[in-house]
């Protein structure tokens, strides 16, 4: 018992030394249980977010107003599915299978980003998601490229390359609409009015109310705090809005002397409502995923049966 404790202490010291020296932790390395658990939760939540995020955007594929926009949107959603795949594979290195992750999602034990529990109501929402939601995601993911867990960090590097396209494409939809008819301008403003606050909430609670942040920061899973990332995001995004004539729906927004911004109060009650399952689309999104998975079972089973049959015959 005593040797075990001493051993653990030694291992932990080595682990933390590596972290402090910016050496990535790899799947076969020893890691504290808490570190593994944190990563399993965060990485699977991240993977699920990519996949569930396909739904609100998918809602507009069949109504995309031009062949070009339809191609871009389809390719974008495909990228997100691909991100889901990289992340599931990276998360599987922690010893949990994709099937298990999906089961936890269906049982409500795993979460996905709450932002996808809002509906897409007009075409400008597709622009707003690319610009604001992907924009917020990038801010977070750029930071996560330096995360301490090797497979997660490498997945983020790959993902970030694609994400910047998404943000540009989303912004392009917005400025085209702002240059368009009055109806289009109204749709664009309506979209930012609905997506602005959910995008800010994507960074999570304020640092003072974020229980898990300190350990994650210490072990460098997270490199910058929720509030730091949120500030980065608003500082780059507000001027983009102003350039094309969109108004950020924050009457208490303060412009600092150095050109940075301070946002007004975030409605945390709404945030916790949505996190708790009571957002406008929580049930719809989860049911969609669950039903599709269930309906696809016979296909997966047949593919496996075929493989078994034809491997044994050889």
């Amino acid at each position: 018992m005593l040797t075990q404790t001493i051993n653990e202490e030694k291992l932990l010291a080595e682990f933390e030394a590596k972290i402090n020296a910016e050496i990535k932790i790899e799947p076969k390395d020893w890691m504290p249980d808490e570190y593994r658990k944190h990563l399993i939760r965060q990485m699977s939540q991240h993977a699920h977010s990519e996949v569930i995020g396909m739904q609100p955007e998918g809602n507009w594929i069949t109504r995309a107003p031009s062949l070009r926009s339809k191609k871009i949107l389809l390719a974008k959603i495909q990228d997100e599915g691909g991100h889901g795949l990289y992340l599931y594979s990276a998360a599987e290195t922690l010893g949990v299978s994709r099937d298990q992750f999906i089961q936890w999602l269906h049982e409500g034990k795993a979460k996905y980003s709450s932002v996808f529990n809002y509906p897409t109501l007009n075409w400008a929402d597709i622009g707003a998601i690319g610009w604001l939601v992907d924009g917020a995601a990038i801010t977070n993911q750029v930071s996560l490229q330096r995360t301490s867990y090797g497979p997660y960090s490498r997945a983020m590097v790959r993902i970030c390359k694609e994400e910047s396209f998404h943000q540009r494409q989303g912004y392009e939809i917005m400025w085209r609409m702002m240059e368009g008819t009055v109806d289009q301008q109204k749709m664009a403003q309506d979209a930012i009015d609905r997506w602005w606050w959910p995008a800010l909430m994507m960074f999570g609670p304020h640092d003072t109310d974020s229980p898990r942040t300190s350990l994650a920061m210490k072990w460098r899973i997270k490199r910058e705090s929720n509030d730091q990332l949120r500030e980065k995001f608003i500082n780059k995004t507000i001027s983009q809005a102003e350039i094309i004539g969109l108004k950020v729906p924050d009457p208490n927004l303060i412009r600092n002397e150095d050109g940075t911004f301070k946002h007004g109060d975030i409605n945390w009650d709404e945030f916790w409502q949505v996190v708790g399952g009571n957002g406008p689309c929580n049930q719809q999104r989860l049911e969609h995923h669950f039903n599709v998975h269930k309906e696809g079972a016979w296909v997966r089973e047949s593919a496996i049966a075929y493989n078994i049959k034809h491997t044994n015959n050889q």
């Binding site: 998918g58 107003p65 795949l85 079972a297 016979w298």
Partner: protein, 250 residues
């Protein structure tokens, strides 16, 4: 209607409407990898439709764009076959619809490479790589479902028996097909059908399915602009924004 234009639209509309059906399926595939592969096929088909519609707009000479032809054309001026507009009833229907169309596309574009129309032969050469990959994928699914579990076998046989009545419209010659073949611009549909038949038979044997289905009677109409009830709904959705906001650019 200009017969050359109609010929172009026949090609474009098969790709456009099938890609639309596939795009409806996004986020609904049995597993994630399959979702991405499905989207790939949809993207390739939109590419074929887009290039062909842009050229069709030039032939038409009314100053319209490829998008105008996709988004502002009435239902009875669409010339896709009835098969490609059939709904995504389940994965077996999607696979069978895709397989029958892919086999046609491979045979058709192979013949079309001989076209004396430079656009069509270039389109054929470019598309053949893509549709060959599509056919490989849908053939594999036919076999995995047909020769996998009993449940899947029944489902894929049911889908085949149900969709077979639309399978041969590809080879039903329209005035546009005849006009273009006579000029050396169009594919020889009898050769296309022979190649198609061979591929279909081969895969049905590998998939242990009954071929041909007991009921071989066919329903035609799409290539003449007479569609099923489904196309109107597809277009109502697809054309919604350009219809509602005719002056908007997106």
């Amino acid at each position: 209607m200009d017969l050359k234009l109609k010929y172009y639209l026949q090609i474009a509309d098969n790709a456009l409407i099938l890609s639309h059906r596939l795009s409806e399926y996004c986020s609904r595939a049995p597993f994630l990898e399959e979702d991405l592969a499905n989207t790939n096929v949809a993207l390739d088909l939109i590419g074929i439709a887009e290039a062909t519609l842009e050229q069709a707009a030039i032939i038409q000479g009314k100053g319209l764009s490829g998008d105008d032809l996709a988004y502002r054309r009435p239902e009875n001026e669409f010339y896709n076959t009835l098969l490609v507009e059939q709904p995504n009833k389940d994965f077996a229907y999607i696979v069978v619809r895709q397989f029958l169309t892919d086999a046609y596309h491979v045979a058709f574009f192979s013949e079309l490479t001989k076209s004396k129309d430079p656009f069509l032969s270039a389109l054929a050469y470019k598309s053949i790589k893509e549709v060959t990959y599509h056919l490989r994928r849908s053939s594999e699914w036919m076999v995995r479902l047909g020769d996998g579990t009993e449940e899947a076998h029944v489902k894929v046989q049911t889908a085949l028996d149900s969709l077979w009545k639309f399978a041969k419209e590809f080879f039903k010659e329209t005035d546009a097909d005849i006009f273009m073949q006579n000029k050396g611009f169009g594919a020889d549909l009898s050769k296309v059908e022979t190649a198609w038949n061979q591929k279909i038979r081969e895969i049905y044997i590998m998939a242990t399915l009954k071929y041909p289905p007991l009921n071989d009677s066919q329903v035609y109409g799409g290539k003449e602009g007479k569609h099923s009830e489904y196309l109107g709904h597809i277009l109502a959705e697809m054309q919604f924004l350009p219809n509602k906001y005719p002056d908007a650019k997106w």
